[in-house]
């Protein structure tokens, strides 16, 4: 019984982190249709920026947001000067982002060496919640709470603000959007930077329990892909639901069928691709 309760609560914590990671991917891939294979690299880069700031005694939240801004700047530059030229060309975009993923990986190795970094859990968020004799780390619940806040903020932004309406218009029909005076390319740079910032923010949030080390980028990328494909591209609700499904499958799958850990993770994605290729909440692309 205690095992199941621990797993259930932990599933929500992991789901929260996955949402922070994949919401940015959902924006970039779903709205802009860029298969951004450096999303895991943004996560890792953000985590490294974050631990460096934390190491200098910066407040945890300041470090997380600062890492997000720094990574947003890098992401924005890559989009503005390189990806922009490859608009609509999927294969060159894949190659470019994959190439940058390798470059970022090696630069991180040079700067931060190969040693793993694991910042201490921020003091005011450390400690455990004790329920019915069960320890549960408070920090995982904090991640969940942050994910919920971010989800609501993104939903309001995309669905209820003028900015969101402009983004949606720019995605649906760029020429017409330009005609009515929307600066589509600026918007796209903004969306890309926001996606990168979310990944980096997730990296800092994850650092106290995932730690940061070379190779983290390509461990996180497939998780972002699974979540978005499962939930449906371009749908924030899809990313949210997908994150929690994967969070639960991951936790219960590894506990019950440890030998099939990866099958269980990828099986639902396969089923969704066969039965509902647009994903659980995706729109049918015409």
């Amino acid at each position: 019984m205690s095992l199941w309760l621990t797993l259930a609560v932990n599933s929500f914590g992991l789901g929260g982190l996955l949402f922070l990671l994949s919401s940015g991917f959902s924006l970039i891939f779903g709205l802009m249709r860029i298969p951004n294979l450096m999303h895991g690299s943004f996560f890792m880069l953000g985590a490294y920026f974050g631990v460096t700031l934390l190491d200098r005694g910066v407040n945890f939240w300041v470090a997380a947001i600062g890492a997000g801004l720094l990574t947003a700047l890098i992401g924005g530059l890559i989009e503005r000067f390189l990806l922009r030229r490859l608009e609509g060309q999927v294969l060159p975009q894949v190659l470019l982002t994959l190439g940058f993923a390798f470059i970022i990986g090696d630069v991180c190795l040079m700067v931060w060496t190969g040693d793993p970094w694991q910042p201490a859990t921020p003091a005011h968020l450390a400690g455990a919640v004790q329920v019915a004799g069960l320890f549960f780390p408070l920090y995982r619940l904090v991640i969940l709470a942050v994910a919920v806040v971010v989800a609501i903020a993104l939903w309001i932004m995309v669905d209820w603000t003028r900015l969101g309406a402009m983004i949606r218009a720019g995605v649906d029909d760029p020429p017409i959007a330009r005609v009515v005076g929307i600066r589509v390319s600026q918007l796209f740079t903004l969306v890309f930077s926001l996606g990168a910032a979310l990944a980096a923010f997730a990296g800092v949030m994850g650092a106290p329990y995932l730690s940061v080390y070379p190779g983290l980028d390509f461990e996180m990328l497939p998780l972002a892909l699974i979540v978005v494909i499962l939930g449906g591209t371009g749908s924030l609700l899809g990313a949210l639901v997908g994150s929690f499904i994967i969070g639960f499958l991951y936790n219960f799958g590894q506990a019950m069928f440890p030998d099939l850990a990866y099958v269980i993770l990828f099986l639902p994605m396969l089923l969704v691709l066969v039965l509902r290729p647009q994903g659980l909440f995706g729109k049918v692309v015409t």
């Binding site: 621990t6 932990n10 090696d106 190969g114 793993p116 201490a120």
Partner: protein, 413 residues
Amino acid sequence: MPRVTRRAVLAGTAAGTAAAVIGMPAIAQATPFKIGLLTVKTGPLAQGGIQMEQGIMTLLKQRGSTFAGRKVELVSADTGGNPAGAKTKASELIERDNVDVILGPLAAFELLALNDYIRQKGTPLMSLAAAEDVTQRQTNPFIMRPSATSAQCCHVLGDYAAKELKYRRAATISEDFAFGYEQMSGFQRVFEDGGGKVVKKLWPPLVTPDYTPYIAQIGNVDCVANGFAGSNPVKFMRAYADLGMKRIPLLAGWTAMDDALLKSLGDEAVGVVSAAWYSASLDSPVNKQFVADMAKDHNVLPGGYSAGMYIAGQVVEAALQKTGGKSDDKKAFNEALRGVSLQDTPRGPVKFDKYGNVVGDVHIRRCERKGGQLVNTIVKTYPDVSQFWTYGDQAFLANPVYSRDYPPAKNLE
């Protein structure tokens, strides 16, 4: 003005040629001795690979790049941490650079990929990779291991847990690959021979973002033995502490509590008992010098990867001293390497069994916080531990190699 006759020119040329011919061996002797280092400097395994390079570089700097009066040249190659890369780089080192000895590679699957090639080429190789059978049932006359087989330290850990700590029920947890199986099987065998029972064995995949689902299954045991490697121990120990599991003592293999990892760890590591063949806290002049030089040149506390390569370099030096600096007879040089026995290495005395694996001390350490720093304090030393523990080579080799299912776990609950 002396006339240069044709005859004089001829005579002179002949003399010159003769001098060159006579001088040949002397010139050959003066060619530098080449060490090829197969390491990993990029990708996820770079952490250990960079430490390997720092270790051998520290030795070369101490010796002024001269072993037994002969200049030594280090040729470093980055395998990228994969078997294909290891194979390509090994043939580059042997066939293009003509190295006299290879140090490395790092990972077991890299070593396995090279096994046949090295056997063919006959270039001696000293690796830290723990693929046990390379110095056991599939022994290769050109491969040596100056560190330890996977189970060499875990045998000791099992003995200490059963006999000194008097634990009776243990759970094991390690990555789902050969190094994990070999370590945990070694622990299980000796622990159960000592009267304990392994009641749970958990195998998370190599890439596991969150260990909570595994830790939650551990249940009612006296101790948990872990054999994680790379950056995984850092993640694992934090999750273990976060879940309030520190009431159950944690035991660790050498990679899981390597001294080089200490700077990445926090309070979650305090109290962990580990068995390792090297410890930076060892109190000997040669080790103190090594630790001081590593701190000075690379600003790190050395762990097994650096010490292993430093010791491998010392073995090469000792072999060259035996052959008087000669290495052109590969076979004789290989014999000399395998016959090396050293007293003063950072890990203590080192000699090799007939399978090419080291026989040396294994230390039991307890992690403590001293003056703000984490330190692995040695609490007991098992001298001259063989890869066969106390079973004897014949009896040991009659069994299959350690694996996930061997020896069978009879006490699982």
